[in-house]
Amino acid sequence: MSKVKTLEEAVGLVSDGDVVALQNMATQAAPMALVRELIRQEKRDLGLVCLVGGMAVDWLAAAGAIDRFIGAAVSMETFGLCQQYRKAVEEGRVRVEELSETALNARLAAGARNLPSLPTRGLLGTDLIDVNENLKTFEDPFTGETLVACRALVPDVALVHAHRADEHGNVQIEPTIVWPDLGIFPKAARKTIVTVEEIVDSEVLRRNPDRTVLPGFRVDAVVEVPYGAHPTSLHPRYGYDARFHLAWTKVSRDDDATKEFLDAYVRAPATQADYLAAVGGSERLIEITRT
């Protein structure tokens, strides 16, 4: 039974208020087509889980789609802080649950393994424990050492982008760096929505079973979206779009300019083809696929 859906159908699986685990590592591998569809469908009160959120977090904050962020950092790395996200937090519109990487991994791994919590030594001695009801110190049952218990986190839905999948939802990547987005997010989430560069026959996946990173039994929807991570990178297929990131940093300190930008690149384009045309078409795609 095929799990292939349209972007609209897939994002229809996300409800207002959901906790959404979003693949993203600064300028890398964010399912941006899904992010744009979340904004087009005017989702509200979403909680966002990222290891290191980038432009996607900025856009969702600017669009008023999120009211909380759970993760280790938000940054576009060399492109600087996410100004719309920062403003939303400083104005109290978005609440931040800031976790170290081991604490985030522990919360998600506990969710995946159906454990109430998992421990870490990370964050001991910091102020981040006291401000977070999902972290508490406890004594190890054997040694009595003080550790940090990290409460299980089960996102309502995980959103990821990868290279290819079959209609059953088996997802495969090309050799590249893998972040917890793929390593643990979908294992913890109740639902998983995947966009891929191409949907292929299962026979293609069977040639490299070691490169399949998500089993179909854990995936709820698959959507084919070429360049679905743009303007973030999907190595080794394409790099991040530096010019597009710079354009965003130029407008994102100004709310009106931000709205115009989102209208032009998020709300106006009806299809992925329209979006790619809007951001510069084939010339830009050639630019980001150069190495």
């Binding site: 938000v74 001991l124 981040l128």
Partner: protein, 264 residues
């Protein structure tokens, strides 16, 4: 003596801290540490183990890349370590990856770091910073922290951080030891000086000032009273001609470290 720029003395100073066989990770937006690692591997520490961006093992980028957390940083890596199941299983273990090079928006006199919020209320901050990321772990996991700071001033080096998002020596003395946290901050390399932490009090101490700067300038640029070494404060050893040549011609021809250090 050779001509050099501030990013170059920072790179050479960091590089000199790496011993052959050490295992080091770099973080985001870290041109100077990455250049320092590449410099050490080309000179006195060819066996320095580099886990680039905590993900790509012993890569060979042809130069400092436009991002220190993106391809082509990982070019020619011998292994990709998956962050959840590989990297943190090695990094949480004291036996491996002992050195972490990192920057902080605020660093205090005991080496505690803040990348979370400026202001007194965490939930209603004056400024929301990027977040603690891996530093919140590394500070508590017994890593040797090499801090670097291209803008040594009283707002980045403060008496007490607004919010403690990474553990240094806490309130100093043996407090860190009592919590069983193991090794901690080891050195701070800035655009003006090199600093470390006095073994007893764990307070930040001046090690050397870069040629051209004075102890008074450094103290004025610091938001708390610095401890001084016994006797005269030495000058930081400047980079050699060969180090400067390597940095300019081979390692950082695009001058990304200079941009990072605000060198015109």
């Amino acid at each position: 003596m050779s001509e050099y720029t501030v990013d170059e003395i920072m790179c050479a100073t960091l590089a000199a801290r790496f011993r052959d066989g050490d295992e080091v990770c770099n973080g985001m937006a870290s041109f100077i540490p990455v250049a320092a690692i590449m410099l050490a591997r080309r000179t006195h520490a060819p066996g320095l183990v580099w886990l680039a961006g905590a993900a790509g093992l012993d890569p060979r980028p042809d130069r400092v890349p436009a991002s220190t957390l993106e391809a082509p940083l990982w070019r020619d890596s011998v292994m990709y370590l998956e962050q959840f199941s590989d990297f943190w299983h090695y990094a949480q273990n004291g036996r491996n990856l002992g050195i972490f090079c990192v920057g902080a928006a605020q660093l205090d006199m005991y080496g505690n770091a803040n990348n979370s919020v400026i202001g007194s209320d965490y939930h209603a901050p004056k400024v929301r910073l990027p977040g603690t990321a891996g530093l919140g772990d590394m500070g508590s996991l017994g890593k040797r922290l090499f801090y670097w700071n291209t803008n040594h001033n009283p707002r980045s080096l403060v008496e007490r951080v607004d919010f403690r998002s990474a553990a240094g020596y806490l309130d100093g003395g043996d407090e860190r030891e009592r919590l069983g946290l193991g090794p901690g901050p080891e050195v701070v390399v800035t655009n003006l000086a090199v600093l470390d932490f006095e073994p007893e009090s764990k307070r930040m101490r001046l090690v050397s000032v870069h040629p051209g700067a004075t102890v008074e300038q450094v103290q004025e640029a610091t938001g708390f009273e610095l401890l001084l070494p016994d006797g005269d404060v030495p000058e930081t050893t400047p980079p050699t001609d060969e180090q400067v040549r390597l940095l300019r011609e081979e390692i950082d021809p695009d001058g990304l470290c200079k941009r990072e250090a605000g060198v015109k």
